[in-house]
Amino acid sequence: MKALEIKGLKFSYIGSEDSAIEIDHLSIEDGETVLITGKSGGGKSTLVNCITGIIPHAFHGEYEGTVEVYGQNVAETSLAKLSTEVGTVLQNPETQVLNYTVEEEVAFGPENLCLESDDIVSRVAEAIEITGISSLNERETYALSGGEMQRVAIAAVLSMRPKLLILDEPTSNIDPEGTAKVFEILKRLKEEKTLIVVEHKVERVLPFVDRIIVIDNGKIFLDIRSHDLIHHVDKMLEIGIEVPIHYIYARKNGIDSDDLDLIREKLREKGMIPASPLRARPARTVLRAAILVSTASGKPLADCSIDLEERHILAIMGRNGAGKTTFLKGVMGFLDTDLRSEVSIILDGRDISGEHIINRGREIAFVPQNFDLTLINKSVEREVAYSINKRKKKSYGNRLDELMDMFSLSDLRYRDPLSLSLGQRRRVAIASAIATDVRVIMFDEPTSGQDYFHKEALGRELVRLKEAGYSIIVVTHDSRFVYKYADRIVVLDKGKKVLDGTPEAVFHESWKYSVLPPSDFLLRSDEYELVNY
């Protein structure tokens, strides 16, 4: 039986002449697990909305063709009816979770279906059992980690008992441990449901999927079985899709296998093992931060000391709740006044621990994960000039133009920063953060939810900043990004520093702390070194 059948689908949003999605034919069999991938803005979300019925029921525009889910025409079936056939888990659980307690959240859908309370109870129990969140039952949803919250979001959809489950980048905001738990659920659901996983990171989901569909410019660019991916690596790269690095080398060297160990062996035989990325040489310490933070009740949150070297990119990694963000907040003076803290910040040999945020900000810049919150001005030019004006820097006559050029913002000078694309907004946020004398820049989860294209752009920006003399701290879960761009990694666990070294050194044992090494590293490492992995 067909779970999904699309014929002649064409949809364009109101006010747009171009089709956001155009699919002649697509069908997915009952029980299949399919990966839908593609660049941001390529049409993946529009396709998902067409399947769930959000288009045309909630989002309107020019709609042609038919989409059938288990034989029901989406356009002619109410959203309520469709919700029992198809469930959707969105990328950001924070915006998806509506209720304060886990139990209420999971019960929300069945309650809307006006089921008897006994039936709701049994559905909630079932969904909680499948997702393994019974320990979270009484917790407030806002206090959950990203991974926990995403599992709650999955449970909330499963309680509707849909036959087709769509997961739209379900792991983009969570740590590897949370990711592993989400995939455990998917593994279990694979036996029972038809699954569509929308994901940028092909490497992550490859072991779970039967089929890969690549969407580009609103059209199906590629539709292949997953084991066939290795033969289509060039096409994937051509449109900027991230594929496991060993696939690329296997393809380049004519190795017809997707087994990493085998590819490494063959490459070694041929002497073709690629060199590791270049790392910056050890340099003098610019920033030395020792942070001891606990809650008012004495629960430790962070107890670590981290050094940052000049013109280095330092990545801080670890599980959700390991103390990474607390560390950054301690350095910036953002800690909640309810917390007990002892903070020592030495910047260039000068103790700035007692300084107010305003003074720390003279030399340290911070770009938060939600960088849109920093864009307070009406034009890009005013945004970037904000610090210069506020600090009355007279010697900064050309600084504005310099920054505009450096971040390719000159053409956007008079645009409202909030109206720009994601990549452009991030560039404005970085440019405005470093506009004055800052020497250290800290980024909190800059790679979260970004596709390959945007991550590469970010990586290049970081390298450019490093070359321009800045020292950078990046908090991230993205091992591949870190391997490619960081000079050093610090891994935190339960608030303490447990590993500190080059990516090559740290990734050998980082798995113990839920930091999984990327295929880029594994390809270059000897098997015996990873015996415990």
Partner: protein, 319 residues
Amino acid sequence: MNLLIINLISWLIFFFGAAFPVLIMLKAIGLTGFMKVTRFESYHTFYYRMNPAVKIILGIVVMAVAALTIWWIGALMTVVILLTYLTLKDGKRKFATGFFLTMMTTIGTTWAFAPYTPYAILNEAFHGSALTSLWVWPSYFTVMGYQPDLTVQGLIYGFQISMRFTAVSLMSLVLVMTSTPSQVLRSLNKVGVPISITFSLVIAMRTVPRIFEYIDTSVKIQFMRGLGSRAPRFLRPFYVLVGAINGIVPVIVFLVRGAKDTAISADTRAFRAYQKRTYMRPATIGRVDRMAFSIIVLVILITVIAVLMGFGRGIPYNG
């Protein structure tokens, strides 16, 4: 007195009523304090076990009593409700926040009334007794014919009026802090409020603490970027306000971007599939609710007796 000093003091007193509450708001409560008193946290004491509908009724009764009776009954209710904050989760902190919020309301309201209440009303409220002047502003402070004179009676009068607001403000926060939006939704639907309206309320209850959280981040980053860097230290709290105002637009845009997902999340889980919803745990009336009802009845009785005994609303307020 020197004319310059007179003018200086006059302006200081004039702005005190607006600036001091803002200072309390920013210094003593802070944006994170507002976040804490607008967010539900699980706990086990009586407020948390009470049916939200009963809490809503209690709030309405408190409002009616404060409006209908003499000021000190409102003051008494304020004290009692504030003391019950100690039973909430993280009670001391919430008590302190409630106390500062009450102070803000009291000072703000007192100052809003004290200088502008005409002598004629004050004379009537205080049985024609002589007014004790505390400060006379220069004549250019006269607004629409009111006397530019701050009197003890004016301050008392303003204070008494503020007692009409404080109890109900505290009671409203109790509802928000001790009921989940879903519980409120259940109760309001039961009394016939349409789902779409109650759902908006639910989303508001979920969003308000986030607004404070995001504005707090925005303000801190503005400080890092130099906001208030050239101002004297004592003015920094006011720059928090400036930063908060600057942060409103990006915070709203950020939230609106997420609202699309919220809508999809609700729609794809059959929200509004039917006019009504069923509930996993239907709202029940328990022992705590019956006790609360007894208190409500008692309060209404006291109000009636107080009004009959002449302690009802009206002049004189100072009883």
